[in-house]
Structures are given as C-alpha cells and as structure tokens.
Symmetry: C2
Subunit: 432 residues, 2 copies
C-alpha cells in the first residue's frame, strides 16, 4: 500500500498556484491572501509554490510573478493585519475569449511555463467574471486548470454570499466615524455647526451608507445620523431639505450619511451637478460639498462636511473581527475547494443565524456570481427613504462586531511591506 | 488641635466650582473634565460641587448649570473614553470688561447665587483670554474667584505648553489614516489612482499637517506621504506640480497631506480660489478638491481626495495614550493649582526628554498664553517646504505614542451620554 500511494503521488506531482488581487483593495484582502498561502502549504502533495501576480492579473500577463515561498514567515503573518493589496492590485478586465484570444493564450503560456495548475482570483463582481472565463480555459483551450474566486468588495454587492470580505470593516469604520462626528456636532450645535455631512463609498449599492446608520443607538442616546441618502433612492432636494429642517428643529442638529452615488430624478449623479472651477471646467467628485452647499443656501444653516474616500476602505486599524475571520476563512476554503478539484466556484458566507451570529461557508458557482449586483432590499430602508429599518440593523450588526487591532510600534500600526521577490522569467516579454 | 482645625474649616467653608468646555471639541477634552471632577472630589474641605456650564460659558451666563455630583459614577468614568464635549461647548468670546460690563456682572451674579469660588475653563487661545479676564474679576469687581485655564486645542498652537491636549490624538489619527491610504494608493497605482490628497485641519498652524508626515517610515518601507502643504509655506502651484511630477515618476504614486489653511502668494486661502456652483455662488471650503483638480488638469494624473474634517478631532477610537494621560493630568493639575489659590494660570506640559519621552506639568501665567499662536518653527519643515525634518519627527513622535482604546459593545465604542441634570435656577433670565 505504501508503495502504491508513493507511486500515485509520483503520477500526479504537485502543481503551483497563482494568486492575484483585483480591483479596489480593502483593509482585509491581505487576510484572504494569508489564508490562501498558509492553507496551500498544508497540501504539499497537491500544491507546490504559491506565485502572486504583481499588480494583479497584469502580473500573469507580463510574467511578473512573486514567489511567496521566499517571503519571510513574519511577513506572511503580517498580511493578517496589513491593509491594501500587498502584491499590488489592478483594474483590468479581460475581454471575452472571442474578443481577445491573444491574452488568454498568453495566460496559458505563462501558466504552462510555471506549471500553474491552480488559479485564485481575489476580487469583486468583475473579477468573478474574469475568474469564470479562466475556469473555462480547461475546456476551451485544453489546459488543465482549477480556478477559484475569493470574494472581496467593500461595496458588499456580490450575490449569493451573505456578505463580502472588506465590507464589514468599512461598515465598522463609517459607523464609528459617524458616531464620533455626531457627538462632536451635537456638542457644538448651540452656537456653531448644525449640519454635518459624511460622504461614503458605494456608487450603486447603499450598503456602506446603511452602515452609517448603525451609529444611531437608542440605548446610548446616540441620535446621529438622522438622515441617510442611498443610491437606491432618487434624491429629491425639496423633500431632503424639509427633513433636515424638521430634524434640526427637533434635535438641534442633523448628521447626514450620503453615498457618493446618489442621483437626481434625471438619473445624473448629484456629485456632478454643476460645480465648475474658475476656468469653467466641470468639477467632478464630492457629493458632500454639493449637499452641504444646498443646506447652507436653502436653510441658512452652518455646516461641515467630510469625504472619507480611501480612508474608509484602508482602515485596518478599526477592522471588524468578524470581517477579518471571514476573510481568512474564505481564502482557506478557496484552497480546500481547489485541491478537491472544484473548478469555477467561489466560497460564500452563509448566515445560519443573526442572534447569536453563526455562519459557515458554502461553494457558489461563479456563473451565478459574475456580473450580478446585489443592491439594498427596499425593506432595509425606511418608508420615507431616509434611514435603515430594524431588519437592516439585524443584518448589519454582526458584520461590524469585534475588534481586531493590528500591533503598533512607536504609535503607528506595524504594517508590513513585503519583499515580493520575483520569479525568474522564462518567456519573451508581452505588451498589454 | 482637633477643635482648632475644625474651627478653621468652619471659617472657610468649601465653595463650588464651575467647569466649562470652550471652542472646538476634541477626542479627549472630556478626559480633562474627568480629571477636574475626580480631583475636585479629593478636596471636599475646599471644593463643594462641580457645576458644569451647559454649552460652555453660555451656561454660566444663562444660569444653565449642570450638577456633576448627580451624574452616575460610571458616566464620570466614561468621560475618560468619550469624545466631543459631554456638557456642550460653544464658540462665544467675552468682550473686554469695558465693552461689555453687563456680561461680567451677570457672571458674578450667577457665581454668587451658586457660591462658585473656582472657575475652570477648558479651551484654546481665545478661551485662555476669557479665563484671564475672569481671573481679574477678583480685583476689578471685588468678587473672590480663582480662575484656572485647562488647555485644549487640536491645533497645538498654544504657547509655553510643549503640546496641547487633543492634538496628540488628531496627530495619531491623521498619521494612521495617511499610512493606510498611502498603502492603498501604492497598491493600485499601476493602473489606477496615482495621486491622493488628504485635507486636514489647522487653519493657521501646520502641526496636524506635519503629523501626517509621521506615516513616512523608512524602517517599514512606507513612503507616503511624499508631499505636505503647510499653512506656514506659501503655496506655489508650479513648484508643487513639479514636485508631484518628480515623485510620481520616482515612486509610481504620490500621497499629499494638505492643511485647510494654505494660501497663495496673494494671501488668499487656496480653498476659496475660484470654485463656483451652478448658480454662480462661490463654493467655500475644501482645499483637497482644488489641489486634486489642479493635479488632474495640469499633470493628467488620476487622483482621489479625502477631507477628514470632524472625523479627525472626534476620533477617540484611535486616540494617543500620551494625549489621554496628559489630558487627565492637566485637568487634575488645574484643580490642584486652584486649591492652592493660584489664580490666572494654566497647567502646561513641559518636555523633559524626547527619548525616552518624559514630561511634567508646570504653571504658566495666562497673560503669556492668551492670544499667542504657536506656529511650526521653520526648522521643523524641510528646506523645499514639502516635508518635516527629523527635528520635527523627534518632537511629534512621543505625542502619538500608545493606544488607549475605548470599550466596545456590539461592534461600536460604548461612548457615554451624560444625564446632565440641571441645577435649580435662582436668578431671573438673561438674554445673550
């Protein structure tokens, strides 16, 4: 028996794995990377080395591979508490096989040259689509490859999975920030700022905006935010101003969470509604100043506004422990699926219970993930469109639960910077 | 002896204390309040009750006093980890005695009615001036009162004291945020954002901007931020753009920390330089979008920008432990000075050593504090004007050292909301 087993191992030697980060990075995408790398090392009969793509899929196309086996162990551990994309990420969507056969042929040439048999793609909806296409290469181009997608998106808009890694940490960041800024405004409102606007991410789905709403907490007497503006709800200036007016008269101040992606009745982004610079150029971006200006002009109320931008998605210092744990578990599950030969799938979080919060991981077919966007259900938003319902709170609360602080040195998080040693190239260059 | 001592106590019974928060609130001004209240309770022979002004000095003028002795102990403890002004703050500067005798007479009437013999004013430079005026009431209006100022300002612009409570926590917040956003941009720069701009507070002094610079750390290989724009340095667009261009060519990306208060050669705030809305109104505030737009227009580089606004000064979740300790110690020292009869002073932090960081507290005369603004020394800024020197780092680093996390419940900080029970009014109303 011992001989036969040794023989069968010889018959299918381990093959290398490719891992890449894709799209906007998060506070915890590196935690999934850690999960992938550490789990792969537990299957030496199946998986050889884990090569990471430098700057995502571009690293595969240009044969710019990183040998994670050469990274000091402390750095791999450090992925568990370091935000951003440690190997570099990119925004680069592969076209269909028909439209760009050249890129797929190149990918296969690189995979062949480095004996890559496993493909792990860590990204959102667009990336799931890329991963799906690559999972089909086995059939369409006769190259044996197991492709598994590792979910990631702060927008929380992936279908099937109960939530997406990265979202819980952004949610915690915006809820904490809104709570703190809300207390600030409340304590100054008598003689100073009456209206505060915080702009958050989520261009098409209001999940992050909704998370701001968690700051409002009756038990502690925290009233802010009183108004949320979701991309799912058409922005009506008159209705909005009347609500601000009502809240300021009632509470003495009003804190507002607004999605960068709210639109007017004409379908245009409010952020793009009319600001021009001194040279007459349209000024893009920043819905918060537009909203604040509207309040100032129409209600004559003193206001302040903040735009969290990258601060929210990079804020590893205040990550949710739930999010960190799920990010690791999903990276781990992706490898476990791959070694079982499950191709074209994505590990997804399944919620078993909200109170107490219990979850497990199930395999979701990529065809059902790719290019589907999960927006906020209407019953997660109050009837007037300006806040979240209890149902939404029950969904969101467990996702921000628990703290997972990074280690500090000299007052700052001791985030690691990987060495990212390159794998020697074997092929001629390739132009993107 | 026992009889004599009892007699002398009877001769000077304890008098009540008044405490008020003034100006912009911080993440740790309540920690000073806790220091004042808890220390006052240690001197029952000298100090009776501590009354807090609701919404700062306005509470004294309108006889809207809060009886802190009625606040549950858990809430007083909670001041140690709750940001904002728990009693309410205000922006209200008393005029000179000549200009507004009516307000001073009212203050004395309120103090007399509630037997207030101690006045603690927790604020910045303007407030120090108010406190100084009130400390002179003893002489000028024959009312016995001991007035002590408790320092507070995120701007760090108070003279004499080595640093100001509130600053260390903002400094830590902006350094951590810049570190995290810098890693984010670095990992995306290959195909996406090349320039990131973070706007921070500090309209006249560049201390907070300087603190962004702490994120740059050779030991960890953290290169962001590469450019800082201080209010102390005239903003020259051409020089700035050429530096951005150089940095992006060298590092692949550029992260910029900018003070809200930078000015052009003509002395105008850059934030006010030309943005107008669709109706032709000047759009105030927000230097970050102006800088980002300049970069986009002139260098054609994709950019993102963030405005931290209140998030930075309210961020108790990432407060510096040094700052928390000093805030408490200064509140405590203020009471100790007062019971010694030291009038018209402010406890100030004196730095004894930077490495290791050692400090103590000394009394500074208010006349030397009021209305003096401490800007960044030129040798804290590099020759080219775009970064901080090692000397500045040595000054700043201890101020962000240590973490002092609040307790959490359900994923959010368990910040307290005081009951703030009112003291019964004894006087006729007063109109401001």
């Amino acid at each position: 028996m011992a001989t036969r087993s040794a023989k069968s191992l010889k018959l299918s030697p381990p093959r290398n794995a490719f891992y890449a980060q894709s799209g906007g990075v998060t506070a915890v995408i590196n935690v999934s990377a850690q999960g992938v790398i550490e789990t792969a090392r537990k299957y030496p009969q199946k998986i050889g080395k884990v090569y990471a793509g430098r700057n995502g899929i571009i690293g595969a196309l240009t044969e710019d591979l990183i040998d994670t086996s050469k990274e000091p162990l402390a750095n791999i551990k450090g992925l568990g508490f370091t935000p951003s994309g440690a190997f570099g990420s990119c925004r680069y969507k592969l076209k269909s096989l028909d439209q760009n056969r050249r890129e797929y042929e190149r990918l296969i040439a690189v995979f062949k040259a480095h004996d890559i048999g496993y493909f792990f793609y860590n990204g959102g909806g667009d990336s799931a689509d890329t991963c799906l296409k690559i999972s089909q290469l086995s059939q369409s181009m006769g190259y044996p490859l197991t492709a598994v997608h590792v979910p990631k998106t702060v927008d929380n808009d992936l279908p099937i999975t109960d939530c997406s890694p990265g979202f819980g940490s952004v949610a915690k960041y915006v809820a904490v920030s809104m709570l703190e800024a809300g207390l600030d405004v409340a304590s100054m409102a008598k003689t100073s700022t009456k209206v505060f606007v915080l702009e958050v991410m989520g261009r098409h789905a209001g999940w992050i905006t909704a998370a701001c709403g968690l700051a409002q907490n009756n038990k502690f007497g925290h009233v802010a935010p009183q108004i949320l503006l979701f991309p799912e709800i058409v922005f009506e200036p008159k209705k909005f101003l009347s609500e601000v007016d009502r809240v300021v008269k009632r509470d003495g101040f009003c804190a507002i969470g607004v999605s960068e992606g709210i639109r007017s009745i004409d379908g245009k982004f409010v952020a793009e509604s009319g600001l021009i610079d001194a040279f007459g150029h349209a000024q893009l971006g920043g819905v918060a100043p537009v909203i604040a200006d509207l309040v100032k002009r129409e209600l004559k109320l003193k206001n302040h506004w903040a735009v969290a931008d990258y601060l929210q998605r990079a804020a590893r210092h205040i990550s949710s422990k739930t999010d960190v744990e799920q990010s690791y578990a999903l990276g781990k599950a992706a490898v476990e699926y791959a070694v079982k030969g499950m191709n074209g799938v994505m590990p997804a979080v399944r919620r078993l219970s909200s109170k107490p919060y219990r979850w497990d991981i199930v395999a979701a077919p990529l065809a059902e993930i790719a290019n589907h966007e999960k927006k906020m259900p209407r019953d997660f938003i109050t009837a007037n469109g300006f806040h979240i319902t209890q149902k939404c709170r029950n969904y969101l609360q467990p996702l921000i639960d628990g703290e997972a602080y990074p280690p500090y040195e000299g007052g700052l998080p001791a985030y690691v910077q990987l060495k990212n040693q390159a794998v020697k190239k074997k092929l001629p260059p390739f132009s993107l």
